[in-house]
């Protein structure tokens, strides 16, 4: 041993350690080994997902306020839940959210699928067009919110000028963000502009997954293009479309940043989606208990709807 050089000694020790460890690992059962690997992930999940969820559930039954930690916490039972579910302002916010979610999902799905169908045709320059179409979704929602605020500006905004050009109305005669009728649509337009490419991408994956031989067989059977679309393309791409609807539905149900930047929930409360109401209760009013209850209600709603939807999706896939 003494005759070994320094580097050899290090190598020797490393081999010994490795073989020792290997022996120890060899002694473990597959089950133990599996637990060993997943334990750090489980601990992490417990710490950053499960514990906060349980803590939020607990807080939702109390009068706790994060800015007054010195005030004794009182157990209120289901008071907050009752007051939220009977509050007309909360229901108004839920209606605004529903309007936003339904219209954005419908528009994005129709346009996204249409674009994917066109891009799938592999015309000349389709790669470049795909990249251009994808650009909006690569931007940050904060950037999108800010620059659409300028586009919607009645005096200098490009959007108003385009509308004025086609309708003959004065550009400054209407305001997209300050009008009660137009503002709910203004936020829908921006979201559709930003996220249609995302739906397109998912639909494109669906369209590209349809094997060519199916279309070839249909051609042999002299099926028209219309028939091919309804009998092959749409049914086979449907699981992908439904997946896109699920993703966009969940995302838009909790939409905050873009709407907050565009309208701040205004005019009045016309575009106050549920997450803006929640943020105001949690971090402006500091009604932590109340906002925890509201967050749980939103979570249960979105979780329940998503579960029903996933079951439907599985049915479609198994067909």
């Amino acid at each position: 041993m003494n005759e070994l050089s320094a580097s050899s000694r290090i190598t020797y020790r490393a081999v010994m350690v490795r073989s020792g460890m290997a022996r120890r690992i060899r002694g473990l059962s597959d089950r133990t080994l599996a637990w060993l690997f997943i334990t750090p992930t489980i601990l992490l999940l417990l710490a950053i997902n499960i514990f906060p969820l349980l803590w939020t559930i607990y807080l939702s039954f109390t009068n706790y306020r994060a800015n007054r930690a010195n005030v004794p916490t009182i157990w209120l039972g289901a008071d907050w839940y009752q007051s939220i579910l009977t509050d007309p302002d909360i229901w108004a916010a839920m209606q605004v959210t529903a309007h936003f979610v339904i219209w954005t999902v419908v528009i994005e799905t129709v346009l996204g699928f249409g674009l994917a169908y066109l891009i799938d045709k592999k015309f000349r320059g389709h790669g470049m067009w795909t990249t251009i179409i994808l650009l909006p979704m690569m931007l940050s929602p904060a950037v999108v919110g800010n620059f659409w605020t300028f586009l919607y500006q009645p005096q200098i905004g490009l959007f108003n000028y385009v509308i004025a050009f086609f309708t003959g109305r004065a550009a400054s005669s209407f305001q997209m963000l300050g009008d009660v009728t137009l503002s709910p649509w203004a936020i829908v337009i921006v979201d559709a502009w930003m996220w249609t490419p995302y739906v397109m991408l998912i639909c494109l994956a669906g369209l590209r997954s349809i094997p060519d031989y199916i279309y070839e067989a249909a051609e042999v059977d002299r099926a028209s293009k219309w028939r091919q679309f309804w009998s092959i393309t749409l049914p086979m791409a449907l699981p992908f479309i439904m997946l896109a609807v699920l993703f966009r539905g969940i995302e838009n149900f909790k939409m905050f940043d873009m709407v907050n930047l565009l309208t701040g929930g205004g005019p009045g409360s016309t575009t106050e989606v549920a997450s803006i109401t929640l943020k105001r209760a949690a971090f402006e009013s500091w009604r932590t208990g109340y906002s925890s209850a509201f967050a749980i209600i939103l979570f249960v709603t979105v979780f329940g709807l998503a579960n029903i939807y996933v079951k439907a999706l599985n049915k479609v896939k198994s067909r």
Partner: protein, 448 residues
């Protein structure tokens, strides 16, 4: 070789400069003591940076600054205080925060310190002491040193008012000379007169007013009308009794008048305007009148396009029930979670000095010290100094209760819903506000 050496020397110099090594090292950095001051990102903050260099030179304590734009100012720093963060050693917090910060133990109580250092609140304008330092109000419990006096005022285009065609047309229409409005009705006439008018071939508008929904904008704006029409937060004889005070007949008329001004005389797209939107509208030559805080007036006066002889300033005009204006401004407090409280207190002691206060005003900050404001030369020291002094004598502030944020949110919603979204009547809006405020105070355990 010589060239390589030269490059090396330059590179070393650059690195040394970047790390603050060398002749420019301040005593503070040498001592390693630096304190952080938190405030909003606006013109006076730049003046404070300049002013604070004297503190560093004198005390050897370095200064770091954390400035946040107004739209995120409350969110950012209230989060910091509520999470017991030690980012800020000193904070220039909004006047309405004082109740919450005092009751939640976020600010250091300064009474003993003031006594020890001979700092007297009698040396400051009474309105600023009540507004920025005291909690509970009108009791000698001090949580801040009045630092930045401020109130809502108005600017107007002096050059437009001086045009012969404008003067002639105005006289023909209203039967009087155009001039600084003394009443809110006169102000509306002027705004209406300019709305849609062409000046030098450009379409201009009447007034830029506060209508912002997200933070505090519309409340800070409408208050100037409500106060003048007789609105009161509660019964002066019975605290928290709001019926007939918040929703009095006068207050309803005030709210209606503010909505009329918004509808008749603001530029298109002004449904969510606050300080910066007002500045933009005025600086770009869009509006004849602008409602904004005095803090911005030094910068506006220096503006090459609309400043100098082209701009004039006036106080919030009177209404049928009197004349008042919304208090702005802030006091400077020591954060109780700070690890550098001794140095932060040292800064407050230095800041309270007479010469420092004079320099503060000269640099563009608004001193609250009587030694500055009662100086005979003060009213003529700036074109807006007289108006500032007058405004500080008639200020009213929003609730400074620990639940101020909730109270503010309720007013933001009720007023914006009525004014901008055209929901319901002014009476319904103010009745609803009373209902909301009662519910908040009830939750707080207040008796009324």
């Amino acid at each position: 070789m010589k060239r390589t050496m030269k490059t090396l020397v330059v590179a070393c110099g650059a690195v040394a400069a970047a790390f603050g090594v060398g002749a420019g090292t301040t005593p503070a950095l040498a001592q390693g003591k630096t304190i952080t001051l938190c405030w909003a990102a606006w013109d006076p903050a730049n003046a404070l940076v300049e002013l604070s260099k004297d503190f560093t030179a004198k005390s050897g304590i370095g200064m770091k600054f954390e400035f946040v734009p107004w739209t995120n100012y409350a969110d950012r720093f209230l989060n910091e205080l509520n999470s017991h963060g030690s980012l800020c050693d000193l904070i220039i917090g909004d006047s309405q925060w004082i109740g919450g910060a005092a009751e939640n133990g976020q600010y250091v109580k300064l009474n003993d310190f003031f006594k020890k250092e001979g700092i007297s609140m009698d040396d400051y304008m009474p309105a600023t002491v009540v507004g920025y330092s005291e909690w509970p109000k009108n009791t000698p419990n001090y949580w801040a040193l009045p630092a930045m006096g401020d109130a809502v005022g108005w600017t107007y285009r002096k050059d437009w008012f001086a045009r012969p065609d404008v003067q002639k047309d105005f006289k023909a229409k209203y039967g009087r000379d155009i001039g600084v409005p003394k009443t809110l009705d006169e102000l509306k006439d002027i705004a209406q007169f300019f709305q849609g008018r062409e000046i030098d071939g450009k379409k201009v508008y009447g007034a830029s007013i506060y209508t912002e929904r997200g933070s505090e904008g519309i409340t800070m704006g409408v208050s100037n009308y409500l106060y003048d029409y007789g609105f009161k937060y509660d019964d002066p004889k019975k605290p928290y009794a709001m019926d007939g005070f918040v929703n009095s007949a006068g207050a309803v008329k005030g709210l209606e008048a503010y909505k009329e001004l918004y509808k008749c005389c603001t530029p298109p797209g002004a449904s969510n305007s606050y300080m910066s939107e007002g500045l933009d509208a005025f600086k770009s030559g869009q509006v004849a009148l602008q409602m904004n805080f005095f803090a911005f007036f030094p910068g506006l006066y220096k503006d090459p396009n609309v400043g100098g002889d082209k701009i004039g300033f006036f106080v919030n005009p009177a209404g049928p029930a009197g004349q008042a204006t919304q208090l702005g401004g802030q006091g400077i407090s020591v954060v109780s979670y700070s690890k550098n409280q001794a140095e932060a207190l040292q800064y407050i002691k230095w800041f309270s000095g007479g010469d420092v206060q004079k320099k503060w005003w000269a640099l563009g900050g608004y001193s609250c010290a009587k030694s500055v404001l009662n100086d005979p030369s003060f009213p003529t020291s700036a074109p807006f100094a007289k108006e500032f002094l007058q405004s500080m004598g008639m200020v009213v502030d929003f609730w400074a209760e620990p639940s101020y944020a909730q109270l503010l949110q309720a007013e933001q919603k009720r007023v914006h819903d009525y004014m901008v979204a055209d929901k319901g009547t002014a009476q319904e809006a103010l009745d609803g506000l009373v209902k909301d405020w009662k519910a908040i105070f009830k939750e707080e355990g207040k008796k009324f």
